[in-house]
Amino acid sequence: MSKEYDVIIVGGGATGAGTARDCAMRGLKTLLLERHDLSAGATGRNHGLLHSGARYAVTDQESAEECIRENMILRKVARHCVEETDGLFITLPEDDLGFQSTFVDACRRAGINAEAIDPKEAIRLEPSVNKNLIGAVKVPDGAVDPFRLTMANVLDARLHGAEVLTYHEVTAVVKEGDRVVGVEVYDVHTKEKKTLRSRLVINAGGIWGHHIAELAGATVNMFPAKGALLIFGHRVNNLVINRCRKPADADILVPGDTICLIGTTSSRLPYDQIDDMKVTADEVDLLLREGEKLAPELAYTRILRAYAGVRPLVAADNDPSGRSISRGIVCLDHETRDGIPGFITITGGKLMTYRLMAEWATDLACKKLGVDKPCQTADIPLPGSDITEEDRYASGSDLGGKAARGRHGSRSVEIKHKDRYDESLVCECEGVSIAEVNYAIDTLDAKNITNLRRRTRLGMGTCQGELCACRAAGLLSKANGCARKSVEDLATFMNERWKGMFPVSWGDTLSEAQFTSWIYEGVCGLDAFDKKEE
């Protein structure tokens, strides 16, 4: 007889992790399940924009208000995940300057500190911005690292007693009569199935939540809208640059850590393609064309990769663009909605509002379980957040240490140097040391190179793993004791990198790809370990 949880949360994105944290903090016996890795879905495939809400101010006042509130909260509780860069909304000659005042008014109504500034001042603040701009508004946009944010929530959930299982896929929702009493999970690594029981199941599966709801016998029509983005090789801009007009394709350029990214496109996607998204040449061309209007320098900047995410919007009407739909939060009590007690779905929303979504879902869960405890996630900092900006970016000559402080905040004290080799860099582009890799393996559930990438930025830099992947595989092989598994993982990782590279493979990116193939296939023979699953 397996133990019973108060709540099982399905989905290891920001929302699921945030919900697990909130539930655990309110004393619920919590289990978080994720079929792949943490933030492997939509959480890890967006702009990483710390929205001020300004983008929605004109079209969706409610979302705008949510954004600015959460924006201010994240600056407090997730300091090590956030870069307080500020943002610009620029008007170009082809845009209607008249929109600016509508925009500023709407921002102010939503509580967003938007300030129209002289275009010359905008150029001074952000030298990469298109010099032809005729108007600029400064807003409190920023950048947020979704991988770190999710991880920090998971770490804190654990500290509050929650259990977290990654690589556990929900294959069935277990019911007694109409009531949901647990889930059946498939352990990807041991290939075993088991049943886990709980008083409540919270579906936080994002777009994949459509399927989870089906397993429970409920219908939640998700609207899969694909958004493609491009990652550039370095930080071209230090302020977020947006277009001051109604939201359109490719009108946000976000600086994030060592890179910057432009996005997004928006197109409808059949549900059966959400696990196999391709970025088309047309999308790439469009992103570049529009991106160059924000910052002309992008035309001469190396593109590291292209990727796409799926917006988990709840279908309300048949809007083909998916844009006029509110990004509002949808919290469904299936007991009242569908007559399925024990089952809650939390969806809609966006990365920015993950905490609020978690709060709503947890509030509902507590109500159902008769627990009367207030939400504290807006006040208590996440692990790692307890660091001042000065300490986070203190000078010194140890690149690995400095970079790690930027990534893990105050938690970086856990990155211990056990022997004299621990300072050696595994990933030279992103400054990831052996000690940091070992920390990610030991403490952050990194089981393969892709996990390591999400925990540390390993392989996210200029060479996309060419130099570091083999070293990382070596360290993992030491940790898991299986050389063959590590080399297979290496083949999978390099192939995953290539999938993001080929849509933008020309210029230096193609040279890099060729070099990588020479080394990994020509010199190393890695093709022998390709699983050919696709």
Partner: protein, 408 residues
């Protein structure tokens, strides 16, 4: 300035052609815009590794393949010249064109090879190992070689493996740097008396083994250190390749260049050709970045600029081009046709290169430039990785071009 032949590109192809020509009395200039792909050498040259018999494999290649253009007979004749060519420079290789042998990669994979530098491990069989027990050694703290991969591969073939590491203050000092403990920097410490001390340490770790395998981290500037290690280590001693940079590969590059210069060749490194003057279907002269006012004239020119990696050809959002002279290229104009989604499938872009006539003369605006020969990776029509023929194409087409220039 006047030369008999000007060679653009100073890697394996350019140097082989240059050496062959200076040996035959020509006055040659090599212009090289940077160091070459020899810096990532695996220890082996491949002629064609699709089958055990390279000549049989070559017979089945596409008509556009440089080997098919040369013809099987010519390939065989040229291939036979290669081993002596390098031996004369003091570079000794194992293997020949009649049958491929096997080499072991840094991941423990067995791959076919044509010629392997003497100090590397080679095998007659893919599965049968010549040893019962082997010591696999690494330098303490060296991240670009993993004993676990090698050990796992050997154990799967029934060999008992003893893994150990070599340590020394010299290595400790290198590891003080978080990034610079690279194979070449290690090799810069394995010189003089330390070679003997290292050999002694290796001997202490070979207990009962039939052979010692270790990463190729010695002998950057010459073979003396490697020879000394071989002499002092009591059991057979072999190198395995590392991740880049490749110490023996750089040695080959240095020795080829030095030999070329000693024979009177002029080698300009770090310079790029900026333009060419064409007249009556011939290239008359070139200019370079560092010598902007000087015309380098020659009777013949060889283009040995490599593939995308070294910018012998460049891809843009809208097509592929040859950047030096604007020569014709064989490439698909639609970039969505350049790639396969699986990295390990044959990538069409790998076959792109400069278009040539049957005599390997570059085409410009559809017509051959009669004194501009194209050699090596910049040629179109082959996939160096999938056909396992990169070095073979480089060396053979270069020797062939030298013959053409000398009217042989």
């Amino acid at each position: 300035m006047r030369f008999d032949t000007v060679i653009i590109g100073g890697g394996l192809s350019g140097l082989v052609a240059g050496i062959d020509l200076v040996r035959k009395g020509q006055k040659c200039l090599i212009v090289s815009s940077g160091q070459s792909a020899l810096h990532f050498f695996s220890g082996s040259f491949e002629l064609c590794n699709k089958e055990n018999d390279p000549m049989k494999a070559i017979a089945s290649l596409d008509a556009c393949h440089p080997y098919s253009k040369l013809g099987a007979e010519r390939v065989e004749a040229l291939a036979a010249r290669v081993k002596p060519f390098f031996a004369e420079l003091g570079l000794n290789f194992k293997g020949d064109a009649s049958a491929n042998h096997w080499r072991m990669t840094p991941l423990g994979v067995m791959k076919r090879a044509w010629l392997t530098l003497d100090e590397y491990a080679t095998f007659e069989s893919e599965t049968e190992m010549p040893w019962k027990k082997v010591s696999v050694l690494n330098i303490d703290g060296f991240l670009d070689f993993h004993t676990s991969y090698i050990a796992a591969a050997l154990e799967a073939k029934g060999v008992e493996v003893a893994v150990a590491s070599l340590s020394a203050p010299q290595f400790d000092k290198l590891r003080e740097s978080p990034t610079e403990m690279r194979s070449t920097n290690i090799s810069k410490t394995i010189i003089g008396e330390f070679v003997d001390a290292l050999a002694e340490q290796i001997n202490g770790k070979t207990d009962g083994s039939d052979a010692v395998l270790m990463p190729a981290v010695a002998g950057l500037t010459g073979t003396a250190e490697v020879e000394r290690l071989k002499e002092l280590v009591k059991v057979p001693f072999h190198f395995l390749p590392t991740l880049p940079p490749s110490t023996p590969g750089i040695r080959i590059q240095m020795m080829l260049k030095k030999y070329f210069q000693q024979q009177g060749g002029v080698y300009m490194l770090g310079d790029s050709v900026t333009e060419g003057r064409f007249e009556d279907g011939k290239l008359k002269s070139i200019k370079t970045l560092n010598n902007e006012d000087t015309e380098f004239e020659a009777d013949n020119f060889i283009l040995a600029t490599g593939s995308f990696f070294s910018k012998g050809i460049v891809a843009s959002q809208n097509g592929v081009a040859e950047p030096v002279f604007g020569l014709d290229v064989d490439a698909d104009s639609d970039r969505t046709n350049w790639y396969q989604r699986n990295m390990f499938d044959a990538q069409p872009y790998m076959t792109f290169g400069v278009a040539t006539d049957e005599e390997f003369r570059a085409k410009k605006d559809g017509r051959p430039v009669v004194n501009l020969y194209v050699v090596g990776s910049v040629l179109s029509g082959f996939n160096a990785i999938k056909d396992g023929c990169g070095a073979g194409v480089s060396i053979l087409t270069s020797l062939n071009a030298a013959d053409q220039i000398m009217n042989l």
